[in-house]
Symmetry: D2
Subunit: 428 residues, 4 copies
């Protein structure tokens, strides 16, 4: 058995996932992780959506080793480096130009929360306003500015100070969730518009609307296109910025590079992190419309690790997957496999209030019960499948394997999941 004493003795009590997966991982490759005892696990979690291109992607390994051997500039703050130019170039050519986007790329401390903080600062600067509209079940990070926009009470309660300057609205799911009475949809946007347009409503006009096109941590809620368009229109009618947080759902996860591709949206800022560095090395980047970007003064939002050579190198390799449609076509196909399998589980347990939600290769089954979901995830772990929970009280199992997962692993993982649900439901 793996030696976990060192962790128990020296690591903070705050450690979390290690409690769900009580072993020590030694190596990993594509959609597999292997622990010190040699047991192999299929990875349906992919580092919480970071490893879209698999663990230790071979193209990236090769490029990274060569970069190291050639003394590439691993750390550069925001000076210019060859590999940063390569990344900018590749991102512009592959992602921005085909979409007629002329957004500027801004690097900051390489965490998603830092990207959100930078976006909020800029929106407040541009508009001279303070409030941000954020959504129920939204997740945007752990530092005070982004945490104010995060909805989950567990995280909010850790702040220790009031979380301010946020107006909270219900999220516009494409399908109404069982039992949800928050009143989502475009009607909610209309109501909010009426409030903002009446100077006696008590609501000051906002600096920004901050929205995920798919709420990942919040429980895999997929926004409807018409709702997103309504939110964007309201933002622009009010002179506010429309910001899409695509940190977990972007980088190809949903079957297109951005989770909001093809929805007729034109966000003022897109926040990116997680998958963008390709290899699991940190990187965060905001895409900012030039007319907003020019409000930044040089150096106003700094960060030691803004220039990450490894992430630029591996990130370029990741972008090459978008040179043609192969990966995205495959992602959509595998996404359907996931969805159908989950719907099969729902059918099998028709007496239970299970629901399936998702898009592309972010699919989820909402078990309606956090304790149940935890037991299923534990059973999966013991059977060799890594799967994570999300949503209120952790009642939703989220399936986000590497996009590059082999079909065999995908199917084996799904079989483990089905069996685990059966085991737990029957044992309950």
């Amino acid at each position: 058995m793996a030696d976990m004493n060192v962790f128990e003795q020296w690591e903070s009590n705050i450690r979390g996932y290690c409690r769900l997966y009580p072993t020590v991982f030694k190596s990993a490759s594509n959609a597999r992780q292997v622990d010190e005892a040699g047991k192999s696990y299929i990875d349906f979690f992919a580092g919480a959506g970071v490893l879209n291109f698999g663990h230790n992607n071979e193209h990236m390994k090769k490029a990274l080793i060569e970069f190291i051997q050639n003394d590439g500039v691993a750390h550069s703050l925001d000076t210019y480096t060859t590999v940063k130019r390569d990344f900018l170039d590749k991102f512009a050519d592959t992602i921005l130009k085909p979409r007629n986007m002329n957004h500027k790329m801004q690097f900051m401390g390489p965490t998603g929360t830092n990207a959100v903080e930078a976006a909020l600062k800029l929106a407040r600067r541009v508009t001279g306003r303070k409030n941000v509209v954020a959504y129920s079940h939204g997740f945007h990070g752990m530092t005070l500015g982004s945490l104010a926009c995060t909805a989950n009470a567990v995280f909010r309660n850790a702040a220790g100070v009031p979380l301010e300057h946020v107006v909270r609205q219900p999220f516009g799911c494409e399908t109404r969730c069982e039992g949800c009475e928050m009143g989502c949809g475009t009607e909610a946007v209309d109501r909010l518009r009426a409030q903002f347009e009446d100077s006696s409503s008590g609501l000051e006009k906002p600096a920004a609307f901050l929205v995920e096109a798919i709420q990942a941590e919040g429980g895999v809620h997929v926004a409807s296109q018409e709702w997103l368009q309504a939110v964007q229109k309201l933002a622009h009618d009010l002179g506010a910025l429309f910001i899409i947080d695509d940190i977990q759902a972007g980088c190809g996860r949903t079957g297109s590079y951005f989770s909001f591709d093809g929805m007729g949206l034109d966000p003022d800022i897109v926040t990116l992190a997680k998958g963008i560095g390709g290899f699991g090395t940190p990187l965060a980047m905001n895409l900012v419309k030039p007319e907003h970007d020019e409000h930044w003064n040089p150096g106003e939002h700094t960060g030691t690790f803004r220039g990450q050579g490894f992430s630029f190198v591996a990130g370029v390799e990741a972008l090459k997957y978008f040179d043609n449609d192969n990966l995205m076509t495959d992602t959509k196909r595998k996404g359907e496999v996931l969805k159908e399998h989950l719907q099969g589980i729902v059918s099998q347990h028709s007496g239970k209030p299970f629901q399936v939600r998702g898009k592309g290769m972010m699919q989820a089954i909402d078990l309606g019960d956090g304790a149940l979901a935890k037991k299923v995830a534990q059973e999966c772990f013991s059977q060799g499948l890594l799967i994570g929970a999300c949503g209120t009280g952790g009642k939703v199992l989220k399936l986000i394997p590497p996009l590059t997962i082999p079909d065999a692993d995908l199917n084996e993982g799904l079989a483990i999941l089905s069996k685990a649900v059966n085991t737990v439901v029957e044992g309950a």
Copy 2:
């Protein structure tokens, strides 16, 4: 000449250091960076204090390549991995045990600001209080919670919302800065104590005192030992946490692992980042006394990039430098070389209000004038030396070369600096 068009077209206006160093860096080794035109620069900036062990440290390169080739777990959230255990083990053995420290190690999003945010959350949780005492010229990060503790108006003005819950005090410099009338020293601590002890003073008792033993970004102000002890005592008398932010000054920079070693201090939390990952790859870690750490609930302060395999691997190599006293002895020696050289510059320009401050290999010359300092840094750049400015208006040139810099590079760099000062002063 280097092609910088891509940056100008696509990168955000917020980019900063690239304006001071207008070239494109291609490779780097120990204390040297080389641009695309082949010009070599001596690096007195070391990634803002990250690269204590030099660019592309050979031990680390070897370990990293081996790690990649063996499919090590590069990204692990907060699951257990072999390399994380190696790091915990090595840090405990090398740093904690010899100091009789039993602090727990907490990993978070791998940026310094995230470490500070986590520390503030915990201090507020432990004490049930909100306010934090922070210091003039202090620098603690860019996200809203840490930014509230950062003193510099340029950064604060970018927040767009009021920065709350901070009581600001003058910093306790070991030597009074020319012209400073803020009233630092232990008298200031006594006055603050009197205010906190009078329930009609209007000051609520604080959750924490957040202090740097050396303010790096703030202008290289070195705190006196007696002042730090007085602050710690006041914190503990008030039931508040004493937090040392050692993000830039730690990891050997000042001639010992912690900047506060040997000062008779016992901080409740130490925040670390920058140098800890060794290679310039991101890592952040708080050291937290067990009695405080137990107030964390699992998973309350999360972060995608908490488990960074590369940084654990290179970080272990960095810690090996502390197996014996060689590096620290050499650091003190080179620190003296730096200080003496800077004092020589002061002597040469006795009509100017120049001052030298620093400890170990963080030495600085305060030129009293930001425009002057900028010109000197630009002249250095053109002569092949990378040097950065800090302090109010950027009036202080900070010398923080890799600790591993060869003497030849050190001396050559200092010669360039001397000449640049002469050139600029004479040309003024």
Copy 3:
């Protein structure tokens, strides 16, 4: 013509009503005010709802003169005085006991805003929570705590600091206002309930719901009974306090002592001011359920003018009007006269989007246009009628004459109003 130079020279630019009524008033009696030129005005404004029992009410004059002649204690802080006991006794006997209310009476600085601030403090103390749910078009005062609950942007913009700790909801009008799309009614309460009950909604449970049964300053919006009951139920289900601000609508204005009488409500706190002192002298009082009141520590919310002898004396006289049903019966009758007359105006101008709203002797005509309403009020003034505007942009003319207004004055005033509307509409 009246000499207004002294005001123009020495009084602050903030003065307001004097610009609508550009004359100097010398005396007043019941529903008439007389200016220095001897011109008599019918008063449909009654000091913004203070003078329910008329200017210089004869019973009160007599009682006040006697009180002064006998050296009664005019100012007493919160010491016990004979006249304060008289007031407490009379209020308990006349108002509380018949309703089986056992609320405690709390006096504070004698302004409505102070009453609201005290209520918010207590709700936060009792619940240990911070946020308050307040409503669009709500008006609760000008000091920072109550101003945060006030909706009107003109007042909010004067704060100069962010107004925090308030969740804003649409008000539940009994009839949907023309063009209002905020989505009021019990459905809105259901939606809010769903948000509060989901720990991932991003909304912390509130300390209190602060509501007016009739929004006076906000534009005379009358809440539906079912909505008020739904709000009260939600408050209690969440462990929050249900607070009714009855400062302008209470004291008999709507045909019963409280504006919410007979609605099956049981508020935790009722805030009172304006009419309670009877004569126009200041007084403010909260009614607080004993189980909440006991959370106060003696002297925690002080105020120099808490004990106002004149207001206690005149206030007792005011309470005598509630010894029998005469005044309230008459108030309902006159309220109908007002309402029917206003509806007649609407009928006469069927091409205009005019609407009538109100309850008892707080009736209003919403002209849908602030500039129009101002012109009508000015025309009324020139014809000898004092009438005030309220609502967003001042588009609503509010009719709140003394409850004791003679029918002749009432009818004459209404005739002036009708004619003024005609004049202005035709002249437009």
Copy 4:
């Protein structure tokens, strides 16, 4: 014995002074109050500084009765009335013109806290800044904006939300209080200046400095002239407003109309309340320099009870006391009597850390112990003297009799106090 059941049954638990003076007062005249049992008390408290001209001042009684009999306008919002013009005229002639002050007079809700809130709003409007510098032991009111400036923890703890936007400084006493180590005096102003002038100090430039020339509730601390001048100079150098809160110390209390007369000060705003209405009826008024006043938009800071006829009428009578020097000369003389007597008490108890502080007829003896002070006040009450405590923990007995107190009452009251101190000290 007085019947206090009604109060106990119906009045809020928050009632305070009635616990110190457990009787029911029936009448009052000049410096005497009489309870229902016929016991007469000498009043050294004067309604917390309101009744500078005595209870039921004969001139005022006459004027008030006449005003009532003539149907004067008792309540007028901010319309023009004859008696308001009389007051403006008299105040300008008597107080402003002789001092070459051209301040505008602003009326608001008739409480001191409302005056402070209005002053803060305007200072923030004028400067576009948020923070206010306020002082240890300062008292400015109970509503959230003014409460943030109030120092006493008992009051602050009742807020239930964080109190923001205030920078706290030590007060500049003319004599250093025994044991106080806060570091007051002009050196503190110099230190603060250094902080404000360094853009990296972490302190944003303030909107205003809010100061009492004598802190009444805070424990009768008298500011030194040089400190006040230094604060005013710093305010003006920083573009901030210099606001003097003269609510308790103004209106002749200290031997001149303003407590800061003759000190070479020129405040941007003076807040007044308490004594200004003369008779104990509420009134509050700010004096605002015209160049600041013009930043107000009409009606931005409203209040139902702004226009108080009784207070204007009695207030004019009060102002007549300043037509010549008689009252102020007498006030200084009696102030000396008070001070000398208190110093005599100190001499008698030389083993105790008693101290005397004060100016004019606001004199105090600091007993250094709240429990002791309470016992003395209780003993005084039983012997027929009303005296109140202030300062941290209520350790300071404050003597603020009506300025019009007869010498006989003054001497009798002082004799009671001396005896009570002896009784309590000996009994301890």
